[in-house]
């Protein structure tokens, strides 16, 4: 079943991405233009990577959570918490490094909390993560005391607006995180265990896999990723906005994972494909912007994409597909 590497790149996600990019180019002929200026690249394509980075980072954690048959609704709120922690700490005079480390730790802790509710109390993931989804923004506001905490620490700002080898820092971080997590789960047995637990938890238990620690780790990773995304978003606007940071991004992250081909029912997952899913979402957003539609129009497009995927994945459509294949098979072999 091993295919040629070039063939393996060719799949539904990359074709969809290419389609969206081509459509953008059609709507806005300068879409693929890239300029080099002040030691970094500029252009719509670079912009897509830069703006898509937070959702891509969230999608990295969300993919493994969904692969275990779970979901993490709290990532948007955790982003707000992490951004608030980082911003208030640098304003209070801590170094950017300390602020970032603490913010990441707080985000991870939020994830561990979710994981404990899911793995130890056996509460449904959607319900367990709802608690932080509701309370998280309140906590973030508590930290920022209700205002938008602005900061000017150059190191922290660099996380959101800087560049590395000419590429936007946010995109670089997303790429590094994607590669690191992919290697971490695929070069160890963790990925296999995650899939086994997501597909059939009972059989996985019979095969001797202890699922509790695994679930806690997976939610912790999701919290960590949310913290990274929160820091980037805060750094990008040079301030922590507890009300709006990460608003609805949990939904974008879930959508990215689903576009990436990971089933909401758990099991087989692909982190790179989820990241491509996030880029597809951002490319659609950008396309809508450059073609002059109101930005809110992309909500309708996103809804359309969800509906399309749901219809394609639904049991009815699967049956139709099998049916038509069978019929095709009958015709070819009379």
């Amino acid at each position: 079943m091993r295919r040629h590497p070039l063939m393996r790149i060719l799949n539904a996600q990359t074709v969809a991405l290419a389609g969206v990019l081509l459509l953008n180019w059609f709507l806005f002929p300068g879409f693929f233009d890239i300029a080099w200026q002040d030691g970094r690249f500029f252009g719509s394509l670079i912009d897509v990577l830069n703006r898509g980075a937070p959702v891509a980072i969230l999608a990295v954690g969300m993919t493994v959570v969904i692969a275990t048959k779970g979901v993490d609704l709290s990532v948007g709120a955790v982003m707000a918490v992490a951004g608030a922690v980082a911003a208030t700490m640098v304003v209070d005079g801590y170094s950017a490094f300390t602020a970032i480390v603490v913010a990441l730790a707080v985000g991870t802790l939020c994830g561990v909390w979710n994981g404990l509710l899911v793995a130890l109390l056996d509460i449904q993931p959607i319900i367990a993560t709802l608690v932080l989804m509701v309370a998280g923004r309140g906590l973030a506001q508590l930290i920022t005391e209700g205002s938008i905490v602005t900061f000017s620490d150059p190191h922290l700002i660099f996380m959101g607006t800087g560049s590395f080898l000419g590429f936007p820092m946010a995109a670089v971080i997303a790429l590094v995180l994607m590669i690191a997590v992919t290697l971490a789960v695929r070069r160890t047995a963790i990925g296999l265990f995650i899939e086994a637990v997501g597909i059939n938890r009972s059989a996985a238990t019979f095969a001797g896999i202890r699922s509790r620690m695994l679930l806690i780790s997976v939610y912790a990773l999701s919290g960590f990723c949310a913290a990274v995304a929160g820091i980037i978003v805060a750094a990008d606007i040079r301030g922590a906005d507890a009300n709006n940071s990460g608003l609805w991004l949990e939904l974008d992250a879930i959508l990215a994972v689903v576009i990436g081909g990971t089933s909401l029912l758990g099991g087989r997952f692909s982190i790179p494909m989820a990241v491509i899913g996030a880029i597809i979402i951002q490319a659609m957003n950008t396309g809508i912007l450059v073609s002059g539609f109101p930005p809110e129009f992309n909500l309708i497009v996103k809804a359309g994409v969800i509906i399309l995927i749901l219809v394609l994945q639904s049991p009815i459509a699967q049956q139709l597909l099998i049916f038509s294949r069978r019929n095709a098979g009958k015709r070819s072999t009379p």
């Binding site: 709802l130 129009f297 992309n298 509906i307």
Partner: protein, 328 residues
């Protein structure tokens, strides 16, 4: 005591104690004025929570309600202000559109067999997007009918008043309670949330009930949008962001089991009032900030989720036993 009553009893006791403590600190809080404002300020949330209660009892969730409130508010404003439609007709149109929207979501959930949260998520995007496409800005509504409605209220002793929208919310709660506890539809909703397979074997029309539940939820969200429009005299596409979470919070704090099958409409009323109490307390205190509302609600949510977990898992060992035997 019936175990499903325990969370409701807990909420009611918490409310009474919290209200008592608040009154002890701020005696002014014990007045019909404050109580009347409780109802008026939370009318749209309460109406939404009634629909959400049905959805959650049936074993689902509806994330689209906040967006539907925003959408109907904008639709009413657009019809009244731009097209000079009489508000009553605009309300009727908005309610029909909202109900049809819910029916479609119900169909998708039943026939595509996908989790309700993802379908209603798409619904949320769609409704917010549609509202934003209609307008980006807040559209004010200036119509004598709106002024007329605001003059409708029942005066209470002590200067308080039950406004039209506050009264409407109470009415919706009463009708909701009758629907849930006294009609066949209500018993079907509980049956669905208890065990969909058994329900279908016992002759519950699963498809019709599912579709009706989401239709009802969207209808009530639409009604909440109308109320929100009357309350603010404006339509704004980003209105009521996050109301779905407040409504879910109120429902769960009111003793409805998030996994379905158990719950009370009255409980959701107490849940809404408890949220209103927290907000009012924060206003009276003056030094506390508004975000404490979210934190307190989150804490209550956690408390009740764990409480339900304890109550409902400890008292159903027999069924677990049966399930284990099936492994043979």
């Amino acid at each position: 005591m019936n175990r499903s009553l325990r969370p409701l009893a807990a909420t009611t006791i918490i409310f009474i104690i919290a209200y008592g403590l608040s009154v002890a600190q701020f005696p002014n809080m014990f007045s019909t004025r404050v109580l009347g404002n409780f109802l008026t300020d939370n009318a749209f949330l309460g109406i939404t929570a009634v629909g959400m209660t049905f959805v959650i009892i049936s074993g689902g969730i509806d994330l689209s309600v906040g967006a539907v409130i925003g959408f109907t508010g904008v639709l009413v404003a657009v019809l009244v202000s731009w097209f000079s439609v009489h508000p009553l007709i605009a309300f009727a149109i908005a309610l029909v559109v909202a109900s049809a929207f819910g029916a479609l979501m119900g169909c998708a959930i039943h026939f595509l067999q996908v989790p309700s949260f993802i379908v209603t998520l798409a619904g949320m995007f769609l409704a917010r997007g549609a509202a934003s496409v209609l307008t980006q800005d807040s559209i004010p509504v200036n119509h004598e009918f709106y002024s007329f409605i605001s003059t409708l209220y029942i005066k209470l002793d002590g200067g308080g008043r039950i406004s039209f929208i506050g009264g409407l919310m109470l009415l919706v709660f009463v009708i909701g309670a009758i629907l849930a506890h006294r009609t066949k539809f209500g018993s079907y909703v509980y049956a669905l949330g208890g065990n969909a397979t058994s329900a279908s074997l016992m002759g519950v029309p699963v498809a019709r009930t599912t579709i009706l539940v989401y239709t009802l939820s969207s209808f009530l969200a639409g009604l909440a949008g109308v109320v929100f429009s009357l309350y603010t005299s404006a339509g704004y596409p980003l209105a009521a962001v996050g109301v779905e979470l407040d409504a879910i919070g109120a429902v769960v704090i009111g003793g409805t089991l998030l996994t379905g099958g158990y719950g009370f409409i009255f409980g959701s009323f107490v849940g809404v009032m408890l949220q209103g109490l927290v907000q009012t307390y924060i206003i009276f205190d003056g030094s506390l900030s508004s975000w404490w509302t979210k934190i307190v609600i989150g804490m209550l949510l956690f408390l009740f989720i764990v409480l339900q977990r304890v109550i409902f898992s400890s008292s159903a060992p027999k069924l677990k036993h049966v399930r284990k035997l099936k492994h043979e």
